[in-house]
Amino acid sequence: MAEHTHAPAATSPAHAVHAVHDEHDHRPHGWRRWVYATNHKDIGTMYLVFAGLMFLIGGSFAMVIRAELFEPGMQLVDPQFFNSMTTMHALFMIFGAVMPAWTGLANWLIPMQIGAPDMALPRLNNLSFWILPFAFTLLFSTLFVPGGAPAGGWTLYAPLMVQTGDAFPMTIFAIHMMGASSILGAINVIVTIMNMRAKGMGLLRMPLFVWTWFITAFLLIAAMPVLAGAVTMLLTDHYFGTTFFTATGGGDPIMFQHIFWFFGHPEVYILILPAFGVVSEIIPTFSRKPLFGYETMVYATASIGFLSFIVWAHHMFVTGIPLAGQLFFMLSTMLIAVPTGVKVFNWTATMYKGSLSFEPPMLFALGFLFMFTIGGFSGLMLALVPADYEYHGTYFVVAHFHYVLVPGAIFAIIGAVYYWLPKWSGKMYDMRLATWHFWLSTVFVNVLFFPQHFLGLAGMPRRIPDYAVQFTDWNMVSSIGGFAFGLSQLLFPYIVLKCLRSGEPATGRVWESAHGLEWELPSPAPYHSWGEPPSEALIARGAAH
């Protein structure tokens, strides 16, 4: 475009050198390429494919839930199996779809964005990916053991969780494996960012995706071991006679909730912070304007990360925690609205006086912006303890966290794939189909989740397979939205596969005003991203501000 001031990527001297190096690389082929993978792009690809697969499996669990809830009465499944579905849906979506998708994106993008050839710990990277298929095979197989899959909810609350059948130790082992995988992945991210940045790539020059992942990785390292500790104690309660959480033995069921949510609340920010990073990359590109308030964004992300560790008991307002505790956690929770609000305002200010175009990544980023804000509003309402006495444990909560996770985290992941796929594959996808994908997703995600606000306020608890007849109408609407949303997602793998098979070649820059080091590389990006570090001039040019 005329106003575009950057030289085309293809003339960059850095990667002329780079291409020469590339020819020396002897990469393994066939199955060895994947099983022995140490290349950040191969591992990133595996993470993303795995996440997509888990998204479809977790989504089909959700379809079972919405089918049973289509009308009152028990038509399809046993209540116990229904509870297994809600539990497995959450575990697969959180630990199987969203977290691996972010790790996959981190693998693909962080080395390219900081001017590194690869992740700092490539063998560890291989290990942290390959733990996951085993963890989820184990978790999936609990569907077929006596007693059925875990049915105590993804929160695994004691003492209900201890009533799980043969699936109990399998679930706990699977969670330990997922946790180990996440921790290893997080260590790799931090070590890479701290040690592998090209000369001249100062911390405050890093793209926001790198920044948000950097903070996310610290949250992971502090939070995942706590979950591991909690489930270890559940295990010893069940098999080794301890009574950490068993009241009859002098234990304390509330203690489990404190420990779980000390993990659980940072966990929800682990799911959403990288989404902030992605949106902070996409919106400036398609507004043709640098991100508004880059440093504020970094500080806001860091303060959200810090605050996420001191709000956990807002999940426990109705457990009878003392008044002072309720007041503290109400105020600390409300405080999170401030940095989150700053981020939303900054994105809005980035668009203001920009020059906007609406390619699929931008559409998904805008969908994120609107609907994540709606989820933020219901989050603010939930923070008010007295009101939470009515909201807690109802579909209002379900609507809230699905608004921040589906049109929040999931939309950001889809937007990220549409943004960087041409860079990864060297091919353009069908933008018209992707636009369809966006509109279908946006319409139906609202049909699916907006009525759940009504259901919750009107008194429908969550995690119930059957309900009083006055909830029928909105449940039907929600189920129809659910089926349609689920079907629309099948477009996504189709669009990606079609792109890989027969997409038009993409340029190096791909999007005319994309900034950042990854866009200085050719498309598809070379096997070892920056074999020779980028020049400082290139880094300065790529910096977002």
Partner: protein
């Protein structure tokens, strides 16, 4: 962009329209907001909920307004050139940090006030111990010693079996009826001591503004006082996942005038006296000869 906002506008309009009392029909379509309830606390909660809702709507209009304005006006396709110098403005950033803080304080103050009232469990006039089981409730009137179990009524239970063939719409108060409701007097401060026998449950009646977890090993306190002119039957259910029968342990509170309540309590007391004739005990439907937890478990296992 019209398509973009259309679903939200439609939803918002539907919400606003249905908020008007006239539109709140008996059908499920009108069931979109929190009930005002029948206690001082539930009404305060409702007011707080609506306050926060309208605050969010107001913020939403401003924020979404600027977003939509930007999307409509600053379009590349219209040949608009971006103002790339607009990347930082300390003054406006300070403003949009401080304004939310002020709004939050404005909402937090009434919330804290209400919370302090909710926590004030002093001077109850009647104390009832509530015990959650898988899957039913036990109520013990501590002053009089009256005690009984309360579980899903037989018609709902039959209709809610997998492929029962019974249309739930034909069952009155489907999943919202129990064999023995909790009977309470209106205009009386009632303290609930809530605990559980097996796993965690949660005792919730929206109209009373009470939700409190029932946790083994803990005795949680909650209180309510039904407005003196609001005698009636109020329904709720367990809100903490407690296993297979979680959806099937409703709560029914029958709030009666003080005189009616005292008459009911006297008859219960007489029926439950250890010396009362055996046939009288079996004849009295409500609360007589409370089943042991084992019996209750057996009865629940039917479902």
């Amino acid at each position: 962009m019209v398509q973009k906002i259309a679903p939200k506008l439609a939803a918002l309009t539907a919400l606003l329209v249905s908020l008007s009392p006239a539109a709140r029909a008996q059908s499920g379509w009108g069931e979109i907001n929190m009930p005002r309830g029948v206690t001082m606390i539930s009404q305060k909660i409702y007011d707080l909920h609506m306050l926060c809702f309208w605050v969010c709507v107001a913020i939403g209009i401003v924020v979404f307004g600027v977003m939509i304005y930007s999307m409509v006006v600053f379009r590349h396709s219209k040949g608009v050139v971006a103002d790339t110098t607009l990347v930082h403005n300390t003054r406006i950033e300070v403003i949009w940090t401080i304004i939310p803080v002020c709004i939050l304080i404005g909402v937090a103050v009434p919330a804290a006030r209400t919370l302090i009232q909710i926590s004030d469990t002093r001077n109850p006039e009647l104390t009832i111990k509530v015990i959650g089981y898988q899957w039913g409730w036990q109520y013990q009137y501590l002053e009089s010693g009256v005690s009984f179990f309360s579980k899903l009524d037989a018609r709902s239970n039959a209709a809610s079996q997998l492929d029962s063939g019974i249309d739930p719409n034909t069952v009155p108060n489907y999943l919202r009826d129990v064999d023995h409701p909790l009977v309470v007097p209106v205009g009386t401060k009632i303290l609930l001591l809530i605990t559980a026998d097996d796993v965690i449950h949660s005792w919730w009646v929206p109209d009373l503004g009470v939700k409190m977890d029932a946790i083994p090993g803990y005795i949680n306190e909650a209180w309510f006082a039904v407005d003196a002119d609001k005698a009636g039957v109020y329904r709720g259910q367990c809100t903490e996942l407690c296993g297979r029968g979680h959806a099937f342990m409703p709560i029914v509170v029958d709030a009666r005038s003080k005189a009616d309540f005292n008459a009911w309590l006297d008859s219960e007391e007489a029926a439950q006296k250890p010396g009362a004739p055996a046939q009288a005990t079996t004849a009295a439907p409500a609360g007589a000869a409370p089943p042991t937890p084992a019996q209750l478990a057996e009865a629940s296992a039917v479902r």
